[in-house]
């Protein structure tokens, strides 16, 4: 076994990690260019919260939406609602309890195809 072999292996690893650090820096710079758009849009949004989990009502204000309600999130507590975890919430239950809207009907069924304005 030649003497420089372990040094070469360590050098290759250092080069690989340096390349990743450069890539990370480039991505940060690229994301930094979006700052103005983020600032303009987030100013119009209701909360500092991200739209990461929109299925449960409390998740746009995690932990703070309903402080006195049963089963609400608390800072540092485990999620009691599965929408905050890897599992989907029981959407079938939502469907079963969802009453038809008394408002005006949609000109197209939402999410089921192109709208009236979409060229055929």
């Amino acid at each position: 076994m030649s003497r420089p072999a372990p040094l070469v292996a360590l050098f290759v690893e250092a080069v690989l990690l340096s390349a990743l650090a450069i890539h990370a820096r480039a991505k940060r710079v690229s994301r930094g260019e979006d700052e103005r758009a983020i600032a303009a849009v987030s100013r119009l949004m209701p909360a500092a919260d991200l739209s990461l989990a929109g299925a449960a009502r409390h998740l746009r204000f995690p932990s703070l939406e309903e402080p006195a309600a049963a089963f609400t999130d608390q800072p540092g507590s485990p999620d009691t609602n599965p929408a905050g975890g890897a599992l989907a919430p029981p959407t079938d239950v939502y469907m079963a309890i969802g009453a038809p809207s008394p408002g005006k009907s949609s000109p197209q069924p939402l999410g089921r195809g192109p709208s009236l304005a979409t060229p055929r």
């Binding site: 292996a9 991505k27 303009a40 209701p46 739209s51 890897a86 939502y94 809207s101």
Partner: protein, 394 residues
């Protein structure tokens, strides 16, 4: 011992790893996988915290809600007048926003009433992917989040209606679609005129969902909060800094749960390392006996064994960090991201941006590497004190 001797021992350790390739690959792979898991959680958590922090600067300093029976109720005009005259309040603006459940998507959509901001999103690069901004006061126009538009399969110019309790809820014409760089904030959003938002969400005129407050001095947020609550305990005040802390706690807790769940894997690795590094096979005992017979000192053998562990450790940890980086920032952290950021129908499709604290990375390396090398010390010492005569006889 001279640097040249150390280099020679390092080379010898490298050769020894090659001679016991199976054991070396098992340890290297185990260490790399354990590091990958830990580093990926660290990377993804830091990236999500960074994104949550990014939009904070332009948020209102405090947000006031009204509680009715412990649940958020609508803001009265008197509430607005009350907080607007508080000392230190520079601007108090009522906001109308809320959620609409779309049965066809089985998801909640966030309907946001357009605030009277002078900025035109159409002129801000990266804000809109196509179309234009909804003008303040414009009726029947909406800017839609990209995730929502994709899910509904609508585009600029399409007309849609949302379920509403009010007959006068308007049909909405999509005038613009938010761009990908802001998808984390807008994926589930329909930005409409304030009057349209009132009609869709059934918020009576003069009332609001909450009040956004900008302070003359943001450092006074705690004082203003206390002053508001002293005079009107039925209001709830959300400090921007508390929201930021909540986010850090939320992601920190979720990362902690994942790390706690992966602790058995780390312990299994250490046990494997102890077993593999501690058990001297016949060939290894013979090799050490020969080394000592030809003049190696106990210190030489000790160093050589420690170099073996260090080489395995450094290469394994480095490979693990590289794999974790690729998993999170090149592949988008499949499986892990759902656990850390939560499940959603309207999941924003945005690549995570590296936001890694070098101190955290060093702590991670120390956490994995230190015990790995530490468990090798005793076996290395046992190997170093082998009696060459008895070892060669057996």
């Amino acid at each position: 011992m001279s640097p040249r001797s150390h280099l020679a021992l390092l080379s010898f350790a490298w050769g020894a790893l090659g001679r016991r390739r199976g054991r070396a690959v098992a340890l290297l792979g185990g260490l790399a996988l354990a590091t990958t898991l830990l580093a990926a959680v660290l990377f993804a958590t830091a990236a999500l915290k960074g994104e949550a922090e990014r939009g904070r600067a332009t948020q209102p300093d405090i947000v006031v809600q009204r509680l009715v029976g412990g649940r958020p109720g609508l803001i009265d005009p008197t509430d607005l007048a009350f907080v607007a005259q508080m000392p230190g309040v520079r601007r108090a603006e009522p906001r109308v926003w809320g959620y609409v459940f779309l049965a066809s998507l089985r998801a909640n959509v966030t309907v946001v009433g357009r605030r009277e901001e002078p900025v035109d999103l159409g002129l801000v690069r990266g804000a809109l992917m196509s179309g234009r901004d909804a003008r303040p006061g414009e009726r029947g126009a909406a800017v839609i989040g990209k995730g929502l538009a994709d899910l509904l399969r609508v585009r600029e110019g399409d007309v849609m209606s949302l379920p509403s309790a009010r007959e006068d809820a308007p049909a909405l014409t999509i005038v613009g679609i938010f761009d990908s760089p802001v998808a984390l904030y807008t994926s589930d959003v329909l930005l409409v005129g304030a009057d349209d938002a009132r009609a869709i969400l059934d918020v009576p005129a003069g009332r609001a969902t909450d009040i956004a407050i900008d302070l003359a001095n943001p450092e006074e947020a705690t004082v203003v909060t206390r002053a508001i609550l002293d005079k009107e305990p039925a209001l709830r005040v959300l400090d921007k800094r508390i929201l930021a802390r909540t986010y850090r706690l939320t992601y920190g807790r979720r990362a902690g749960i994942v790390l706690a769940a992966s602790l058995p894997a780390i312990l299994a690795l250490l046990i494997l390392a102890w077993d593999k590094l501690g058990g001297l096979g016949p060939s290894e005992r013979r090799e050490i006996a020969v080394e000592k017979a030809v003049g190696w000192s106990t210190a030489d053998v000790l160093y050589e064994k420690l170099y073996e562990s260090a080489l395995l450790g450094v290469l394994g940890v480095g490979a693990g960090i590289a794999l974790a980086y690729a998993w999170v920032f090149l592949l988008g952290a499949p499986l892990l991201r759902e656990v850390l950021s939560g499940w959603s129908v309207l999941y924003p499709d945005v690549a995570l941006t590296p936001s890694i604290d070098p101190a955290d990375l060093l702590a991670l390396v120390a956490m994995v590497l230190a015990p790995f090398i530490a468990v090798a010390i005793v076996p290395a010492w046992r190997a170093a004190i082998v009696d060459p005569m008895s070892a060669m006889r057996t």
